[in-house]
């Protein structure tokens, strides 16, 4: 065969033959499946519908689902190649236990026995809260719901949080403070319907490309992009505001001041539906043109132009992502955004809302059902009524439910350092790459008595540290549902079997429940995700996030929005708060007086650059999936550092030079320099997907006081040339 190829008799014609797919027509025969399985994309929170093509038990291709209203058949490059990671060589195949520093493959029974006995031993010795649990935004809602019960009611620790705290926690905390509850009021269609869209710290062209098609619809829409970096999204803008890093609050207050002074506010709405206007206005009035221009680096004329546009817009959307959330003032920035929407009464109307665009595919699912920042159904820990209601639904005593939230993600890490948490269970997340200030985290994990990591991939920097490694099924291998950024619930289906002995997380949770003897109490009669979903429907009934009218059967016909009360099957979105009634005690939204504060670690003479971190379209988070997909990895094979040509000239650095980036906490070595006008003088940008150039060796341990979200987007660094070889 090899000789035939060398001679040129064989041209691998078989492999490259074309075939015909009944539905999709002429295509490479290797991509013609036997059957299609409808599901939802497992990367980001846009929530695109897709079909997995299966042949001989393998996923051979994917297609966007033309009937899915989110994406109407389109997918981003990650989605288009999503089937390719399922059989990557770094899939976790067998349960592993570390003995004498080396992993040994063991049976599931042995792994789970060791895990529970060691967890229970730690809890017996140091108290139930000595166990910490870090989960994710990547599981299905059914798994989040089950996991929440298992952790809080089964293992009885409240120190449970998800990597969603690294992501959209500030949006959650901000919504709660302004509107009384989490839950984005608007929908994606608002992007198409709005006459003004303001994107703040949101690079949708790179991170949510499928949302871009909703922008720029009519000539009647003006797109304003606020970002310190000239992103791909900035290039789409009618007006680009290149703010200085971390100056959004000054900008928002400046706009608010103009709106108030020029009486472009909705006095009647404010009077009927809000509290706290005067206190907010008093703070905002101090943001005069000089102050705002100095902080933001923008001219007052530019700001005024946008303020007037907003003041006269019929349907303004303000949307944000990590540029806002990844900050010690993330929650407050969200409140400032909500202030802006509230003064114009533009909340929950068609094309008019403050919209948080979420990160992970099912971050929303864990927000609603997950028992972390709130109890399932957005119930408040502090509320006796909420606790009694939930206990009643579950048939347990109200005293069994925690009266306050346990520690948030970064506080769990710090509690480990204080030796208060001795055992940690990490599920479907890779903190060694994604958590800020790597050294601190590595030190913390080294102090644990036992670390269990449950993941679809091994080795990852995190699974390598585990004492026990549990192999999990991933997207494409299990059933459930995801809820996207706009509250749209979409079905997730199994197309193929998980490789090796990997099991769906749901099954792992059930086996653990059995092991610790809580299966009958918490999950009586449950055999699959559908049972969890049915219970979740009952538990969410009547809540803001009401799933009671959503059934698996109805979801197979297409996605459904919450709130969806029982008895109705309404395909359209119901926007929140359109009637001006909010989820606060008195039904009024709250204005917050927000003061701008400087970033926690501004550049200095020694560390003269502000480091911004972020993403590229080809990769997902820490790259455990996308870097296994060769097509994507070749497009973006390694990290790079963006630096303005003026700075490069000053440092005598040239394009493609290899440099080290150094902060007070650590050093990232051998990064390729991209000299570009994409970033301003004094700013550098490093993507965070690359474990070998881990941006989080540089970032700092500074967290938002409300959401506990890390300040990923700003820290002070210096850039050094690599000594030449």
């Amino acid at each position: 065969m090899k000789i035939a190829r060398m001679l040129g008799l064989d041209t691998a014609a078989e492999k490259y033959r074309f075939g015909n797919d009944a539905e999709y027509g002429y295509t490479a025969e290797s991509r013609v499946p036997e059957r299609w399985v409808k599901t939802t994309c497992g990367y980001c929170s846009v929530g695109c519908g897709m079909k997995i093509g299966v042949k001989d038990g393998e996923a051979v291709t994917v297609r966007g689902d033309e009937e899915h209203p989110v994406n109407l058949g389109k997918l981003c490059p990650k989605g288009l190649s999503e089937h390719q990671f399922l059989r990557s060589p770094n899939r976790a195949l067998r349960p592993l236990v570390k003995r004498n520093g080396k992993f040994e493959a063991v049976s599931w029974e042995a792994a789970l026995e060791e895990m529970t006995s060691r967890f229970l031993a730690v809890q017996a010795k140091y108290g139930p809260n000595a166990l910490g649990v870090l989960s994710t935004g990547q599981l299905v809602t059914e798994e989040f719901y089950a996991l929440g019960k298992l952790v809080q009611m089964g293992f009885k620790t409240t120190n449970y949080d998800g990597n969603t705290t690294l992501c959209m926690a500030s949006a959650v905390a901000g919504y709660k403070r302004s509107f009384g509850s989490d839950g984005p009021p608007g929908t994606y269609d608002d992007f198409a319907e709005a006459d003004l869209v303001i994107l703040i710290g949101a690079n949708v062209a790179e991170n949510h490309p499928i949302l871009c098609q909703r922008l720029m619809q009519g000539p009647k829409q003006t797109l304003v992009v606020v970002d310190p970096r000239v992103t791909k999204t900035a290039m789409l803008a009618d007006i680009f505001l290149p703010v200085k890093p971390r100056s959004d609050i000054a900008l928002l207050n400046g706009i608010l001041k103009i709106l108030i002074e020029e009486n472009l506010i909705d006095g009647e709405y404010i009077a009927r539906h809000t509290n706290g206007f005067e206190a907010m206005a008093a703070v905002v009035r101090q943001y005069d043109s000089e102050t705002v221009s100095r902080i933001t680096g923008l001219s007052w004329e530019e700001i005024r132009r946008v303020a007037l546009l907003f003041g006269h817009a019929k349907a303004p959307v303000i949307a944000w992502t990590m540029g806002v959330n990844h900050s010690t003032q993330g929650t407050e920035t969200v409140n400032a955004i909500c202030n802006l929407s509230l003064v114009r009464g533009k909340v929950g109307l068609a094309g008019a809302s403050p919209i948080s665009i979420t990160g992970q595919c099912n971050a929303m699912g864990t927000r609603e059902s997950g028992f972390t920042a709130s109890m399932p159904g957005y119930r408040k820990y502090e509320s006796q009524a909420d606790r009694e209601e939930l206990a009643g639904l579950w048939g347990v005593a109200a005293e069994e439910l925690p009266e306050k939230r346990g520690l948030a993600y970064p506080d769990i890490i710090e509690a480990i350092l204080r030796k208060e948490i001795k055992a940690l269970w990490i599920i479907a997340t890779n903190p060694l790459v994604s958590f800020p200030n790597y050294d601190l985290l590595a030190q913390a994990l080294g102090q644990l008595d036992v670390l269990v990591v449950q993941d679809g991939f091994h080795p990852t920097p995190t699974t390598e540290l585990a004492d026990i490694m549990l192999p999990a099924a991933v997207w494409g291998e299990k059933e459930g549902s995801y809820t996207n950024s706009e509250r749209r619930v979409s079905k997730v289906n199994q197309a193929v079997e998980a490789p090796g002995e990997a099991k769906p997380d749901f099954e792992i949770f059930m086996r653990l429940a059995e092991k610790i003897g809580v299966k009958e109490k918490l999950f009586a009669g449950w055999s699959g995700p559908r049972d969890a979903f049915e219970e979740w429907r009952k538990v969410s009934a009547g809540r803001l996030c009401d799933y009671s009218g959503i059934s698996y059967e109805a979801l197979e016909e297409g996605p459904l929005f919450w709130p969806q009360a029982g008895g109705e099957t309404r395909r359209e979105a119901k926007r929140l708060y359109a009637d001006g009634n909010f989820e606060t005690e008195d039904g009024r939204a709250k204005f917050w007086p927000i003061e701008w504060k400087p970033m926690p670690e501004p550049p200095t003479k020694e560390y003269p650059f502000n480091l911004n971190t972020g993403r590229t379209v080809e990769h997902w988070h820490t790259g455990t999936k996308t870097r296994e997909i060769e097509t994507l990895d070749r497009m973006s094979p390694r990290a790079w550092l963006e630096m303005n040509p003026k700075d490069a000239a000053m440092l005598k650095l040239h394009p493609h030079d290899r440099v080290d980036v150094v902060s007070r906490r650590g050093r990232v070595e051998n990064v390729e320099l991209r000299v570009t006008e994409i970033v301003g003088v004094g700013q550098v940008f490093l993507p965070f997907h690359f474990a070998e150039s881990n941006a989080n060796r540089l970032t700092l341990s500074a967290y938002d006081p409300f959401s506990r979200e890390p300040n990923y987007k700003q820290c002070a660094v210096k850039v050094e040339r690599r000594p030449s070889l």
Partner: protein, 465 residues
């Protein structure tokens, strides 16, 4: 409760739900080309967000592995922060009116389809000589190592026949890529003006048919995303041997009395050339297109020359005639490389450098050290003159070639020059030194050419280190 300023929320009617996505039918011409017309791509730079969906979808459609991109996305940048312009290009095959891939192909593997005007390639006919990959100024045809043949974008010809849009058009979330019908004569009349865009090679050379809508309000000088990155091209070792050995052989056979040596070199060179093919077994097919392709002519001429050279073992009468034939054959070799898509090859210097290699060997075997020294100095002067020309050239690709010679390959270039001093050695050693030097010269010839191409991205397409 009445809320005068509060509009009733329009709860998602269908007209809003369906508004966002471009209707794929609008991206297709809706009819077939008529006489004098052909299909073409349209690409709208204003719509493209550089997401690379088209690239991934193309590879899925065609079952290609990651190292092959029949459609590629590039990036260009202009302006100064914050008024930076950052734009993307996406390109499949441009289905040119004067397709250079087709003209050069020695085996007629390419056809310009009569009905659609698409430039189609037959993997069955292809022998994997890769000449088209040098001829195309857009880098469109790509050699597939696994198959031993070239492949390229055919606008998803099979899908068009089914009335479906190409995979890239289908995948683009922005509706930036479309298929249109163009009147060929009118298009040529405008010199393919609308196919030009920043970051693209001049369209006139091959009459690219892709219409590009340039960015609104574009200002400033655009710079390719890969502007500062120069990557050496493939060395093509079999061709390094083929060129050097056949040229040396021509010199030895024409000017010396060492027919066995000359014939030996010639035979080795010709065997080496076959090793360059993806499908050596079909080497004979390469003569097919001698009326059109310089590669066919080279094969025909060298085959004839080799046959004739055998007579030198028995008679000297044919020497002058054969010498002239050999000179023409070497010229045919040079002409293969003198193509617009490879600017540092497209110069008289290529032919002169090739001839000088032969003349150098010839001068040495005549036994005249002064003659040999003279030719060696001429070759050295040629090399230095070429470098000066490259450095001072206006064209980006030429300056990049100079950069490769002076930076990445400066020691190799120096060695190539120093080895010319080998003419001072005794003949046997001199021949070895000069052969080695000329071989390094051919190696540099291949690795330091910077082809014309569309702008790439900053990271380009390469394996992680």
């Amino acid at each position: 409760m009445s809320l005068p300023l509060l509009e009733e929320a329009r709860t998602g009617s269908e007209r809003y739900m369906l508004a966002p996505v471009a209707d794929p039918r609008a991206l297709m011409p809706g009819r077939k080309p008529e006489a004098g017309e052909q299909y073409r791509f349209h690409f709208d730079m204003n719509q493209c967000i550089g997401c690379k969906c088209c690239e991934v979808a193309c590879n899925e459609q065609n079952g290609n592995s990651a190292e092959i991109q029949w459609r590629r996305v590039g990036e260009i940048e202009a302006g100064a922060y914050p008024f930076t312009q950052r734009l993307h290009l996406s390109m499949g095959c441009n289905h040119c009116v004067d397709a250079a891939c087709l003209t050069g192909c020695p085996v007629d593997a390419y056809t310009k389809d009569g009905l659609t005007g698409l430039v189609l390639h037959s993997a069955d006919a292809c022998i994997g000589c890769q000449y088209c990959t040098w001829n195309c100024p857009y880098g469109v045809p790509q050699f597939n190592e696994e198959r031993g043949v070239v492949g390229k974008c055919d606008m998803c010809h099979g899908r068009l026949e089914q009335g479906r849009e190409p995979a890239c058009v289908n995948a683009c979330p922005q509706g930036a890529i479309a298929v249109e019908i163009v009147n060929i004569a009118e298009w040529v009349g405008t010199r393919a003006m609308e196919a030009n865009a920043p970051g693209m090679p001049p369209a006139e050379a091959t009459m690219s048919t892709t219409r590009i809508t340039p960015p609104k309000n574009a200002r400033g000088e655009f710079r390719k995303g890969d502007y500062h990155r120069v990557r050496p091209e493939a060395a093509h070792w079999p061709l390094v041997f083929f060129l050097t050995l056949t040229q040396l052989a021509w010199g030895v056979l024409t000017f010396g009395r060492l027919p066995w040596l000359g014939l030996g070199l010639l035979a080795l060179g010709m065997v080496a050339s076959v090793a360059h093919l993806g499908r050596p077994i079909h080497a004979m097919r390469a003569m097919k297109m001698w009326r059109r392709s310089w590669l066919s002519r080279e094969v025909v001429l060298f085959s004839g020359y080799a046959a004739g050279a055998g007579f030198l073992l028995v008679t000297d009468q044919l020497r002058v005639g054969l010498g002239l034939l050999g000179a023409v054959a070497v010229y045919a070799s040079a002409r293969i490389y003198m193509v617009p898509a490879r600017p540092s090859w497209q110069t008289w210097r290529t032919a002169v450098e090739f001839w000088l290699t032969g003349l150098l060997a010839g001068a040495m075997v005549t036994g005249s050290p002064r003659l040999a020294l003279g030719v060696a100095l001429a070759q050295a002067a040629m090399q230095i003159e070429k470098l000066v020309w490259l450095r001072g050239a206006g064209e980006f690709e030429l300056r990049q070639s100079a950069r490769l010679l002076m930076e990445d390959f400066r020691w190799v270039f120096a060695a190539r020059l120093i080895l010319l001093a080998g003419v001072f050695l005794p003949l046997e050693w001199a021949l070895v030194a000069v052969a080695a030097g000329e071989m390094i010269g051919r190696y540099l010839f291949f690795v330091t050419v910077v082809p014309r191409n569309m702008a790439s991205t900053f990271s380009g397409m390469e394996r992680a280190a």
